[in-house]
Symmetry: C3
Subunit: 172 residues, 3 copies
């Protein structure tokens, strides 16, 4: 049974850099499962910057929705897979399924997949619930969904970290 | 002198579940002091979900404003009382008193009450100050108030935890 | 080479009070480098409150932009200098330079200055990246900038803390 590491933290808190370090320790080749697509300008710039920082050992897999299926399909082909990131995946699912309860079923499918994987996962997420309550109802709904999903994935993970200013604190 | 445990964290970060676990260890019967009211739809749904999760050992007390008085009135009647949550209470007080300085006097009244209570308290609050500065002046005012109140209650508590993704870190 | 202590946390999370305590342990006289100006009403009130709490051992230096130069100019004149705060400084720089990449060059200039200073620094910043993604593009840009800057300053500091409800957790 593969090791599952879950990293959460604020925007630009050093999660992805730490995740890359943790993955690199596993050897090569490495998989980078991007849940965002390069369609939007800010995301394209972010993916390009990450790609430049990572280098040749990495293969990028783009999968906005079927995360559990994609991880199962690529199992055994990498020394580790970095999943970046859970909140974008949830956002894609919520846009596609339009129902937080159905999105949480996908999260459950993901955590159930963990026990059958051989490839270690490093899963990156974001903390989005420590600001003022958003006025926008959809933003509140997303915030609640992300909190629930993070809690469930953290419960199923072997190691959990939260990062602040580039520095990790171990939670589990 | 009763033990005071203070739990803070982001939205849906597992605070309430952890608080219920900590309360349950104290024995029965247990008090659940809800500072929110079921008037609004989202809150009604939240209260119903909590009630379902908790079960028969719990008695719900609804008190939106006079928290110190209500805790004193119910003192000695429960193995522990869970207060859920501080930020809703502050919001009710700010709406009612329209002055952060007067709200902080109520917080002071609460922390002064701690030393005379026999029933242990588990007090849940929210971190609301780790997002971008809100454009709305009232939101900034509330954020400052919640930060001040959390700091004062944490200073008066015996144990303090912050939760991320359902996992607690002990602060005190 | 002087010791650099970096403190981050949410709004009203007790960072400034902790920073003042850490500075006071260094002896007197003490410098308070304010990156905000008293021009705006909320800031004036905040500076006045801080000044009242601090007392006579402190000299206030107001410097909204040229932080590295100001620290070099005042080096050796105080037992410690408290810099309050990084996010206001970044905000001033972004308003003045209108380019996050140029602002990050100023951050680099600051961290390079650390090794040549004799006066210990206690540097206060804010976590602004743990709320929901802001709808406003400028707010997202600032949030990313603050995250990057905090990570770089923390990497160059000797000790790093994050505060919640007035209580610090050591990160480094």
């Amino acid at each position: 049974m593969a090791q599952i590491i879950f990293l959460t933290g604020g925007a630009r808190s050093g999660k992805s850099r730490l995740a890359e370090e943790l993955a690199t320790r596993r050897g090569t080749p490495l998989g980078y499962l991007a849940t965002g697509s390069a369609g939007d300008g800010e995301m394209a710039e972010r993916i390009a910057r990450h790609r430049e920082r990572r280098g040749d050992a990495w293969t990028t897999i783009e999968e906005p929705l079927a995360l559990a299926e994609s991880l199962a399909a690529h199992d055994g082909r990498f020394a580790a897979i970095l999943v970046d990131c859970v909140t974008l995946w949830l956002s894609n699912l919520l846009f596609s399924l339009d129902d937080p309860a159905r999105v949480l079923k996908e999260v459950e499918l993901l955590t159930r997949t963990f026990s059958s994987l051989r490839t270690p996962l490093i899963i990156v997420s974001n903390e989005v619930g420590m600001g003022i309550v958003p006025e926008n109802r959809l933003a509140r709904q997303f915030r609640d969904l992300a909190g629930e999903a993070n809690e469930r994935i953290a419960a199923a993970a072997d190691e959990v970290y939260v990062t602040f200013s580039g520095l990790p604190l171990r939670l589990k």
